[in-house]
């Protein structure tokens, strides 16, 4: 799709929002058409969402976190597949979505997607997405003052003399084979 048509659609959507009418029928049809035209060559078939819902979700994900010349975006990261999977699994197992599911239902879901050993065609996108989510949450947590304290880093300070506590040396030497 050309930049011009994308810009036109965005302007159309913006104008209709300002006018207070939400999406115009026209704009919705254009979005729908674009989504169909841009449908990834991926053979993924949505499980819980309708094809239309899934493509809309992909489109939204593309707008939220687009790919650029630096990095792939949320579509490539499998965001739509992940959400479809969550919705699908939840619906199939518990007739609920993730947020409103009971804690034990949420945990059952996580136990599926938090381990590579559960890799399968339907779970694959969820496992890969969770891997990213875990990495980013762990990074964010342990680079925060709370996380730095949790892990016990005590440096980044000025000291007049560098010393190593004898109890720490004794602890390691006692446990060491050498």
């Amino acid at each position: 799709m050309s930049d011009v048509s994308r810009r036109d659609v965005l302007r159309g959507i913006a104008l209709s929002m300002i006018a207070g009418g939400g999406f115009s029928l026209e704009a919705a049809q254009v979005v729908h058409g674009i989504a169909a035209a841009e449908k990834a060559a991926s053979s993924y078939k949505p499980k819980a969402l309708t094809a239309h819902e899934f493509r809309t979700l992909q489109k939204l994900a593309d707008y939220i976190i687009p790919a650029d010349d630096r990095s792939p975006g949320a579509v490539e990261a499998g965001a739509a597949e992940f959400i479809d999977l969550l919705a699908g699994q939840m619906e199939r197992l518990y007739s609920a979505n993730f947020l409103t599911a009971k804690p034990d239902q949420q945990i059952a879901m996580l136990d599926l997607i938090a381990y590579r050993k559960n890799e399968s065609r339907p779970l694959g996108p969820g496992i890969r997405f969770f891997d990213w989510a875990r990495r980013m949450v762990v990074d964010a947590y342990y680079t925060s003052p709370i996380g730095i304290k949790e892990v016990g880093y005590m440096g980044n300070t000025s000291v007049a003399k560098f010393e190593v506590p004898q109890d720490a040396i004794d602890y390691a030497v006692k446990r060491s084979p050498a």
Partner: protein, 572 residues
């Protein structure tokens, strides 16, 4: 595009490049009362503003992951992370280099006052006496035109001036110097020392260009472990803070930044009369007239400058009738291995920062052994301890543990600080297939022809890397460690560093007694062009298992004193 202006005064000495070599020459000449112009391809450095010392990840944009989390996608704009003090990279926009088919090579260039000394590892090792006579010793390579005894007084001066830690050990492969006390070993380093002792391998206090005593107005280290970010208090050595800035206070240094040297202009008598450079801000070509020139752009960039300085008298490049400019390129052999050390699990927390680098290291210990299947040797560097958590610190922990929740949190807490990494840095022997030359088809954004690299490891380096692997495995396993990054056999070419990756490239304008086989004499003065000197690692005849910076400093010091004396005598 270019307009040439020739209105500059005549400088006694023009120095090109402000890293370890150029910084040292600038300082020594200014102290001897000689006025110099110092050309630097990059901008001025402002440590207070440019260095990211003491910043926490949560104080910086995106915790240091880069715009849009670029670091997550292998597209970090910072080769050594957000916090490192570099203004350089493996690729510079508009300033390409090429690599010949079949070769792998990468070239790190740091365009800023101080160059790569702003972030380097500060490892400061003297070459051994036998490193200057490699051919005499094992029949491979070429002897230097200077001996250890020629250079030793300059090692003394360099160490006294820049400040180097260490201890008297009496080990032939690692000559003792003028040392400041080294801080005590960290807990994991104690374990490495104990394992080495069991294996009969020496593991001695580090020799780092870090002050542990106040020296020449510079305060002692405050032990934040962030040398690589640049040190605002100049408690470690960088040529910018320790040599260039103080030298400028003498009033005898004209610093010209953002000036990319293009060509050296020689007259009919074969002397350099001017340096042609691109003033980046205006993209105009300018000339600095000079009575002598010292090039110290980094070994490959210096070779490029000479090769691009062609004239009727010097059709192969200035001072290059030997054809040796660009030849004999080497880098250090690099290999690393790390392990999880169960003895460190649950280690009582304490501040293990210390200096920005290891407090102990392993010098080469088999220098007189006949029981090995490769020539020359390597030293071992040691990493570990409780580092500041950063983006990516626990990525491997997540991959190993997977899961989520309290288990993951407990695992990370227990896992933190339990890794020890060993890295080898060894000697590559010059070979016919490893060199740089001018690419006949590519120019940079200023129209200056670029370098094309050819690089090949030989069996000597592959077998050495295999020996590193076997040794590291033995040390780590003696500590009870479990190897975390197992690799295929280095002897098959796997796991060994890529040429240029260790950033110890040198040898491209080598010195020697025979003008048909070398470019420079024993004072790093051109055999053919008497007012041309080289003061980086390009003159090195071999690339021993010692990081080159201290020897660059010592040799540059000697060259500067020689130049000053020749000027006094009216010979230059």
């Amino acid at each position: 595009m270019l307009q040439i202006s020739r209105s500059s005064p005549v400088y006694d000495v023009v120095i090109i490049g402000s890293g370890a070599g150029g910084g040292t020459v600038t300082k020594v000449l200014a102290d001897l009362g000689i006025s110099v112009a110092l050309l630097e391809a990059g901008p001025q450095l402002n440590p207070a503003k440019d260095f990211k010392e003491h910043q926490w990840p949560y104080q910086v944009p995106h915790r240091g992951a880069g715009d849009g989390g670029a670091g997550y996608f292998g597209k970090s704009p910072w080769p050594f992370g957000y916090f490192a003090a570099t203004n350089g990279n493996w690729q510079l926009e508009g300033e390409p280099y090429t690599v010949a088919p079949g070769s792998k090579f990468q070239w790190f260039r740091s365009r800023i006052v101080g160059g790569r000394t702003n972030h380097y590892g500060r490892i400061s090792l003297r070459f051994a006496d036998y490193d200057f006579t490699p051919y005499t010793r094992d029949g491979i390579g070429t002897d230097w035109p200077v001996s250890y005894d020629d250079i030793a007084p300059y090692y003394d001066k360099a160490e006294q001036f820049i400040g180097v830690t260490g201890s008297k050990e009496g080990i032939r492969s690692a000559p003792d110097g003028v040392f400041q006390p080294c801080p005590p070993p960290r807990v994991h380093e104690v374990l490495v020392q104990r394992a080495c002792k069991k294996l009969n391998i020496p593991c001695i206090p580090s020799r780092l260009a870090v002050l542990t005593q106040d020296t020449n107005g510079r305060p002692a280290c405050h032990y934040c472990a962030q040398c690589g970010r640049g040190c605002v208090s100049a408690s470690n050595y960088s040529s910018s803070q320790v040599q260039v800035f103080p030298a400028m206070k003498t009033g005898r240094v004209t610093l010209i930044t953002n000036a990319m040297a293009r060509e050296l202009i020689a007259d009919a008598t074969g002397k350099v009369t001017a340096v042609s450079y691109i003033e980046k801000a205006t993209r105009t070509e300018k000339q600095l007239k000079c009575r002598s020139v010292v090039i110290a752009c980094g070994a490959c960039e210096s070779a490029r400058l000479l090769l691009n300085s062609k004239s009727n008298g010097h059709p192969n490049g200035l001072g290059n009738s030997s054809g040796m400019v660009g030849r004999n390129l080497t880098d250090s052999v690099g290999y690393s291995l790390s392990a999880h050390i169960p003895a460190l699990e649950g280690l009582p927390r304490h501040n293990s920062d210390g200096m920005g680098g290891m407090h102990v290291y392993v010098p080469w210990w088999l220098w007189d052994s006949k029981n090995k299947d490769f020539p020359r040797g390597y030293h071992i560097e040691i990493g570990g301890g409780f580092g500041m958590p950063q983006i990516g610190t626990f990525r491997n922990a997540c991959r190993r543990h997977e899961g989520y929740g309290q288990d993951l949190k407990d695992y990370i807490r227990n896992d933190y600080g339990t890794y020890v990494g060993l890295a080898g840095r060894g000697e590559q022997i010059p070979n016919e297939s490893t060199f740089c030359e001018i690419d006949p088809e590519v120019v940079d954004q200023y129209g200056i022809p670029v370098l094309r690299f050819h690089f090949k490891w030989t069996e000597a380096e592959l077998k050495q890397a295999q020996h590193m692997h076997d040794t590291f495995k033995a040390i780590l396993e003696t500590m009870g460690g479990k190897i975390t990054n197992p690799r295929p056999a280095p002897v098959e070419g796997e796991g060994i560093s890529i040429g240029g990756e260790i950033i110890h490239e040198l040898g491209t304008i080598r010195m020697g007694s025979d003008p048909s086989m070398s470019v420079l004499n024993k004072y790093c003065q051109s055999h053919e062009v008497k007012n041309l000197f080289v003061a980086d690692a390009a003159p090195f005849v071999s690339n021993p298992d010692k990081n080159p910076t201290l020897t660059i400093t010592a040799m540059a010091w000697r060259t500067a004193e020689f130049l000053a004396e020749e000027m006094r005598k009216g010979n230059v």
